[in-house]
Symmetry: C2
Subunit: 314 residues, 2 copies
Amino acid sequence: MAIKHLVLLVGGVGGAKLAYGFQQILVPEQLTVVVNTGDDFWHYGLRICPDLDTIMYTLAGVVDRKNGWGIQHDTHRVLGMLQQLGENTWFRLGDLDLATHIIRTRQLQEGQTLTQVTQFLTQHYGISHQILPMTDDNVSTIVQTREHGEMEFQPYFVEHRWQPTVEALTYRGAEQARLSPAVLDALNVADAVVIGPSNPWLSISPILNIPAMRAALRARNVPRIAVTPLIGGQAIKGPTAKIMRELAIPVTPASIIQFYGDLLNGFVYDRRDRKPSVEAIRLFAEDTLMLSDYHKSNLARALLSIIENWTEPS
Amino acid sequence: MAIKHLVLLVGGVGGAKLAYGFQQILVPEQLTVVVNTGDDFWHYGLRICPDLDTIMYTLAGVVDRKNGWGIQHDTHRVLGMLQQLGENTWFRLGDLDLATHIIRTRQLQEGQTLTQVTQFLTQHYGISHQILPMTDDNVSTIVQTREHGEMEFQPYFVEHRWQPTVEALTYRGAEQARLSPAVLDALNVADAVVIGPSNPWLSISPILNIPAMRAALRARNVPRIAVTPLIGGQAIKGPTAKIMRELAIPVTPASIIQFYGDLLNGFVYDRRDRKPSVEAIRLFAEDTLMLSDYHKSNLARALLSIIENWTEPS
């Protein structure tokens, strides 16, 4: 049966690749990408939403393909001047990228929601598929580290290049956060939910720690499938494996499945890996290494095939 | 007698030229430049202080010499992107210039005064002479126009290129504004005050409409000399003559002298013009056309000579 609406939960670069894949094979009415905002922060007086921007630039086709984030061929004139004026410039703001933050900050200060601002920006970037922040409330991922104690996400991830040892993670504000009407609508009409191959602890957990999100997912008797962020015991990019080791969690797809628990009823592991020894969940082997645009569309197509052939257990 | 401290009151480009001249001939302890902030405004969520920046970039030696404002060799990458994203880009923000506004906005939002922010910025721009905003309170020059009714300054001046007909000017907040301790200190030790060849109605009036400023000037029994903004019945740049005509004021240096009234005891008119027929004020003919850096220093030197040879009437 052809899919009516798919909700994709994602964080940054890895999730953006799968979002790009789905964008190629689904019409706008069929897809909503719900994005982590636990990484959002204030910097230079500007509101910066790194994951939303990565998804937006990727779906707009303007992303810097080498980094996986930021805008291609961007320059750093403003940043260079900020540095000359004594600023700490560990967050690499591009000039073209800055326009996004300037508009977002102004519109938020004028009282618009992050959802409205995101709709304005995606529209002007020519994106027809819906990108939504996970919530319009503030949620902040806080990293408890051995070396520096409590750190906000961006100082941990960018300034310290995820080198500090993670002892625990908390998602400040998540318990109180509400889902926007737009996210609730998308979940209500979804006949499938996919959790992208993003870092479960850093990128997906902030989304799932919103109580209304967990409730909405559990209420949907539809395929709820996560894509493994691990291949051969390694993350393609970023600190997923490193964090799992630091939290004394075996670096295996089985651990990921256990982490998501009853929010999932399906899981895609990489075809290079052995099948996880897990009961009570459907397992699918696919090529999850999205090296090229073809691989992204291909993985999305494979997921769509899984969803369209899904039959309830009799 | 050598001057101890000179306070120069200025607005934008014309005032910046004279400030540059004084910078060349006075050591930092001898000069404070007090700058109009009636033009300041919020744009794209940023606090922009056009006159402060023009003075700062001029004294830092980085000003765009063709325009008289902005930073030389600046680019407009961010502005181009803001335009692509649907923004109205009538205010020409350069990339290097943006760094100033970003830092200022952030520091103001952190609770610093505009005086503190200005000191931070001038220090990082390598400026040793003191530049002070006229007040840390908000004052806004409001232009009553025939065509568009009440306009804020920048829409009038930049967006509409000062073409609307001026019927009246008000300086919102000036009556309530206080002088900062730094401005009061400078005025208290000043043994001369010079009003630059800036537009009296747009650039100088916002300063003089602060009651404490008028009181402080009248309390100083020192040379208080204005430099004419008119040569041959024309302003060098900008709408001084046009506004005078619209307000039905004769476009003559005598009108300028009358406008400043008892705040002045001296006036420099241009040597190309006839001596104004004005009593009760000392008049000096000088070359006020500051075409080159030499002319700027030269006019400053002429003013210094007038001040140093000033003797109280017996």
